[in-house]
Assembly symmetry: D2
Homo-oligomer: 339 residues x 4
Amino acid sequence: MIIVMSARATPEDVRHVVGRIEELGLKAHLSKGVERTIIGVIGDERLLKKEQFSLLPLVEDVIPILKPYKLASREFKRENTVVDVAGVKIGDGRLTVIAGPCSVESEEQILTTARIVRNAGADLLRGGAYKPRTSPYAFQGLGEEGLRLLALAREETGLGIVTEVMESSEVDLVARYADLLQVGARNMHNTKLLRALSGVGKPVLLKRNFSATLNEFLMSAEYLLSGGNTGVVLCERGIRTFVEYTRNTLDLNLVPAVKLLSHLPIIVDPSHGTGRHDLVLPMSRAAVAAGADGLMIEVHPHPADAFSDGEQSLTPDMFAQLMHEVKAVERAITAPAGA
Amino acid sequence: MIIVMSARATPEDVRHVVGRIEELGLKAHLSKGVERTIIGVIGDERLLKKEQFSLLPLVEDVIPILKPYKLASREFKRENTVVDVAGVKIGDGRLTVIAGPCSVESEEQILTTARIVRNAGADLLRGGAYKPRTSPYAFQGLGEEGLRLLALAREETGLGIVTEVMESSEVDLVARYADLLQVGARNMHNTKLLRALSGVGKPVLLKRNFSATLNEFLMSAEYLLSGGNTGVVLCERGIRTFVEYTRNTLDLNLVPAVKLLSHLPIIVDPSHGTGRHDLVLPMSRAAVAAGADGLMIEVHPHPADAFSDGEQSLTPDMFAQLMHEVKAVERAITAPAGA
Amino acid sequence: MIIVMSARATPEDVRHVVGRIEELGLKAHLSKGVERTIIGVIGDERLLKKEQFSLLPLVEDVIPILKPYKLASREFKRENTVVDVAGVKIGDGRLTVIAGPCSVESEEQILTTARIVRNAGADLLRGGAYKPRTSPYAFQGLGEEGLRLLALAREETGLGIVTEVMESSEVDLVARYADLLQVGARNMHNTKLLRALSGVGKPVLLKRNFSATLNEFLMSAEYLLSGGNTGVVLCERGIRTFVEYTRNTLDLNLVPAVKLLSHLPIIVDPSHGTGRHDLVLPMSRAAVAAGADGLMIEVHPHPADAFSDGEQSLTPDMFAQLMHEVKAVERAITAPAGA
Amino acid sequence: MIIVMSARATPEDVRHVVGRIEELGLKAHLSKGVERTIIGVIGDERLLKKEQFSLLPLVEDVIPILKPYKLASREFKRENTVVDVAGVKIGDGRLTVIAGPCSVESEEQILTTARIVRNAGADLLRGGAYKPRTSPYAFQGLGEEGLRLLALAREETGLGIVTEVMESSEVDLVARYADLLQVGARNMHNTKLLRALSGVGKPVLLKRNFSATLNEFLMSAEYLLSGGNTGVVLCERGIRTFVEYTRNTLDLNLVPAVKLLSHLPIIVDPSHGTGRHDLVLPMSRAAVAAGADGLMIEVHPHPADAFSDGEQSLTPDMFAQLMHEVKAVERAITAPAGA
């Protein structure tokens, strides 16, 4: 942590700050510049609060040096984490595709969709049983019945299941059915849910909140990791900006940024990220080219009849085309340099 | 709902859309323009989904006409709602001030602060017992012990209590102590929590999420209202923008916008909204001048030692000055026109 | 400037960076922490570029300590700057109100409006002769004829004139007519225009770009100041955010933030800032309460017929009401503390 | 244009609006819904202003139906526009790569860089002679001397030249040297510059402003097209968001969105878009996969010594690697479906 003193600070003001640092059992290191003095605080700054110094007289600024997260950082663990979901390895260098409907609607709908996406080459099946909806008048999911239908689809197709859990009290229930438990964008900051999931014994898909910085996103992962759950898969799904032609702004820059700063795998959800079925295909190709470890794609046999999010769902034919194209991009970027 | 057909749509394409509208038991109304045909859908559009039409061939756009919320709208209820919190009337034309520390830290801290804010003229006491923190390594609140200390402070000072509830499973516990239950910005979209609070029998302070539009904010209020809880107080606390000199961007434009569209009272939290103690006073004056029904202010006897959010907390002296100044602004804007 | 070395940096890596610092004629100051070494660079960092260090091996981060602006800072000049515009003192503690139509449309329109705003108490007359419009098919202003009509209105009413200049080649022409030359939000980064205005001998009203940070805004002021023009008035007029109920998001937080960091006066334009005539009045009161030195308000005799921006223009009656209310707020916040 | 009447509007209020529509020589078309009446305005809405109706009594909302741009729309011209720049065809289905330094610094620097990028396979050379810089103390470009050096590099390498023009008064000068005239992001709204370029007889590279919506971006293109210049190449270069790990947020979603709505070619500048050399390569691959017609890449022989933007410049080796990888992605996405 670096403390920048005001240009008007006297030696007495500086001594006061140094005294405070030493009271906290840390060491201060002074550097007198042309215009002002700066003070380095030596010790673990993750245990400090900025305001312990920023509110002292004639302190102009307090600048953290370390990242706030530790276990999620690539500095802590240099090799990539690979997360095993029902035998599917996310982050092992091969693209993982998770596909399925936004909501589980009926036995026929989920079984049909599961067969379609498996036949097109998907690795895991997604489907929502508990749905966080903006409107209280909208369909809120089938609940446990939806989980049972997902389990049935797993039996029929062999695909592992990805589904959302919305509250800590439901973690045990959802974990009995799911292979990968999803934390939705609206719950990325739900610390009680994260704590409950840190001990659940199954991997977690953590979606980025609409307005989360990278630091905040990795701090949510840190809740899971520090509680003992190392099976964390990150997911970019769009941020809130001024842009009007997409429902959210899918931020692919996050993918290579995460690769530099963290060891955790990251996948991309272009369905929610764009909110438009006609942008899902090109943005899926782009996500793979940016280095994503996987994709999460909404597919529905009849999008116009979907109970939720039909505008961003692909038809079976569009999904088959998508699989074809993203596999071609995957091959292109993993080909040996001399190819 | 308005359906805009593509300029390339044939009469057959238009008939197809009209047929679909009629299948759903609604009426279609055609308007042929110079370049394209538009179709009005007559009936309650809140029961429709855009994609039921937007995915039909040669439909270019689907434009909703009605607001998605109903019970929260001023159209539904023209007179202002006044919410009674332990005898304090929020929204009755008089400014309500809620003040206290970010977190309850100890008996001495909360009692001292409660006396300070009461003596300076605050109407209600705030204090967090359950804290949603970005870092798993940060102080997470005293839990039920914090609630007990708040109740003790109420006994000592007579001030009603405002405190946050983070999960549906804790609603009953928090409701035993609190006079106004706060839904934090991170939980504005937590539909299970909102549903639990809709039947709790006590009023709710609903904070706007960092990235919530006004429609989304009022839809969260609609969850409470449609579940039977009419005691809803809205709170603006800053949005996420590119701006760097404030932790969030306090968006005072929301205050008069809510007054036009809704009957619910709205207060402003400039402490979280700016994240800087040196901006709290001018932005509090501005909030009152914009028409806010109240303020929520963080006060701490020793901000530099606060367990959380010290950088945005006022000292007792600063709070007394704030009360003096906001009361002057309140008088100025409520004086009769001829004064 | 602070250089943060990677935790993996060897003493050799550190020596390499120090050598580079010394080559540039500056001094390095080392601070060895528990996890990593940081290096303070002693000397005027405004002359350095981050990449001179950030691209060296095992440098993790380069953190500037000084603000990028100098002449615009309150550190450089502690007392408030007061700008004289045709005898009106902006920044002297009294509220200045600039009012008039978006565009000059005709002799009758500008003379009528000038008389209305003068009679209601405005200090200066605004009106656009050169209009930067989003659409090539929209009215682009009367050009020099508009300037002549503004001068006529000045003769008739005694009000000084504020009008926009869009290009360096037109600075001399506009300066012959205007008392305060406006740089529009779209031109805040137009460095050629800023340079031309720095020698014009008349004060400049510098509007904040939709997406400008405070640093960028003050750097544009620095262009004017460093070129010798000390008559700079800043103007907040709304930023681009995700918010949908206002055309822009008027960011009043800027007002007290500028007051802390700069000596320049700052006014607020709630007409462009909100884009809605029904929000102009409350946000004007709020701007004054936040500490703004002035307001800039669009007024039109018949807003529905305005050639541009009618939706945000006030009628004469609304403007008279606004003057009444903002004066009341001004009195409230400038009353002596014991009042 | 659709006019939505308030639920409280009487038949008289509706008649008043209809009268107004008819006064303007247009036709009104009424649709009475369950809750309110809506009125369709039949005629060319591009000639109307919203406020002509929105300010009438009991009008609740006015909704435009048509896009504000016409010549830039795919509806106006269905086939892709191909822009010829010194024999290089942008938009013909083959990827175009523009590369070179941020600023022209010296004869040696530009000639060296030109040879490097040509040898690696670039199609056109970029280099700035006029630089819009945030700081008045930063290097502002070599001016016409820079243009001469670019022409020399063209002679030596055969590469056509792309360079920025900052003001209408300099259009003729820059056009004597450049093959493709660049309008920088800060000038996207500079209507005088756009008008001057609409008659220049050479193609224009139009960069998206940091905060421009797609409508605004295409309206700037409309200035060029409506003035007679059909050689318009669009360029995405990052938007301003809350995100902190990139200097801007490169918004690749724009690429397929433009392809749907417009016939103009679009390229991507990941150097400015991310501001980080270590993200340029993956985001270049992603841009190509998203369907971009070209890339614009900053390359410098010694990035740490660059006069400007060194942090985002690639070394010659990194650029060669980039060319290798983006060509592989290009092949992958253009391979026949059965491959």
